[in-house]
Symmetry: C2
Subunit: 222 residues, 2 copies
């Protein structure tokens, strides 16, 4: 009675693969738009600067599409499977706290819907920023944060406040029932074990890129 699911065991996808899946998805959708219907691991690997073996393994563990030797994989099938693994189509309502420059940028960003993010309300401590609408979303005074999280049973919170306020906002969110926090404040937050935390650290990305640049420039000197 065993299903024909190859390595597709128990939805257990490693973190390393999970990090690459969004890249595959973006790449495959571009190819789809170009009219490509079948693509091989070698092709993907060349374009994405990965090894073909890695691409094959990643596909095997995140999709049940069968590749054909000498031909490749069906693009539509890969896209559908990767989207499912990434939770495309799920909807997560979220609140955002901190309607400053960065907060407004996230509120305006249109790329999130596909990943199921639905920011239902924003909050700010500055009365001057409250009770206005940004991209159709109302900014409430931060005093109402807990109330609204509870009322709408919201599970995800986005923090875009200055770092000195971040822990306090985080605590309020956790107390009100938030289970996943996306933190853009450059600070270390303390959360209980059963709350997921993802720090978005632009400075860290920059540091990594800078060190790569240094390597490149050094090589060219030789």
């Amino acid at each position: 009675m065993e299903e024909n699911l190859k390595n597709f065991k128990k939805n257990e996808i490693s973190p390393a693969i999970m990090r690459r899946l969004p890249n595959y998805l973006r790449y495959l959708k571009e190819k789809q738009k170009e009219g490509v219907e079948i693509i091989s691991s070698v092709n993907i690997a060349d374009d994405m600067k990965l090894s073909p073996i890695q691409v094959k393994k990643d596909i095997a563990s995140s999709s049940k599409v069968q590749g054909k030797p000498r031909i490749g994989f069906e693009v539509d099938g890969l896209i559908a499977d990767i989207e499912r693994v990434l939770g495309y189509g799920n909807v997560n309502d979220a609140v955002l706290v901190g309607a400053g420059q960065l907060g407004k940028t996230l509120l305006s960003y249109t790329g999130f819907e596909n990943y199921g993010l639905n920011i239902v309300a924003a909050f700010d401590s500055d009365p001057a920023k409250c009770n206005i609408k940004i991209k159709n979303k109302t900014v409430y005074p931060v005093e109402r944060l807990s109330e609204i999280i509870k009322k709408y049973n919201i599970r995800m919170g986005i923090i875009t406040v200055p770092e000195r306020f971040a822990q306090n906002i985080c605590d309020i969110m956790v107390e009100a029932g938030i289970k996943a926090i996306w933190n853009f404040a450059p600070t270390h937050l303390i959360v209980p074990d059963k709350v997921a935390l993802k720090n978005e650290d632009l400075a860290a990305s920059l540091a990594i890129l800078s060190s790569q640049l240094k390597v490149i420039l050094n090589k060219q000197e030789n």
Copy 2:
């Protein structure tokens, strides 16, 4: 004649450790601000939700600070060493293309100076956005991009244009001599091998967080 540098061999720090270093740095600076002068691996591990063994190993390979049994490591020394590894103090001049919402946010972001990013000029294709200053930085028409990169010998480029323009901007940058590209457009860019590319994919982060949230919520149902 061997130097007392422990595992501190050849400046070769693994990518996995490199990714964690900015987190350590942020954490240690907070402790420093609180007046903490010595800290143990167990302490760091508890707060950062890592294992003490991993913390010890990370410190050993990125710092030459000697820990004392039963005591810990000198905070100031750790900070200094990690900053050096991350290239804190290096200065990288950069150009930014795309003075929209996200571009303006990055131009205004103050957290980058410490990591040596110095955005010297911004560019946009919309004449209405040009020749104004944002946070003291002039926005030039994109036609002048190549010229200014070459004139000031700039090596890093930041792309915050809509995805359909990203590859074109990327090509102009590469042709003009850019060696490291920080891409915020949600698209797959093709660059030569000797150019470093870092894609900043907010949707990908979100996808990972969403899948963690799903796991948490499922556990609570049981």
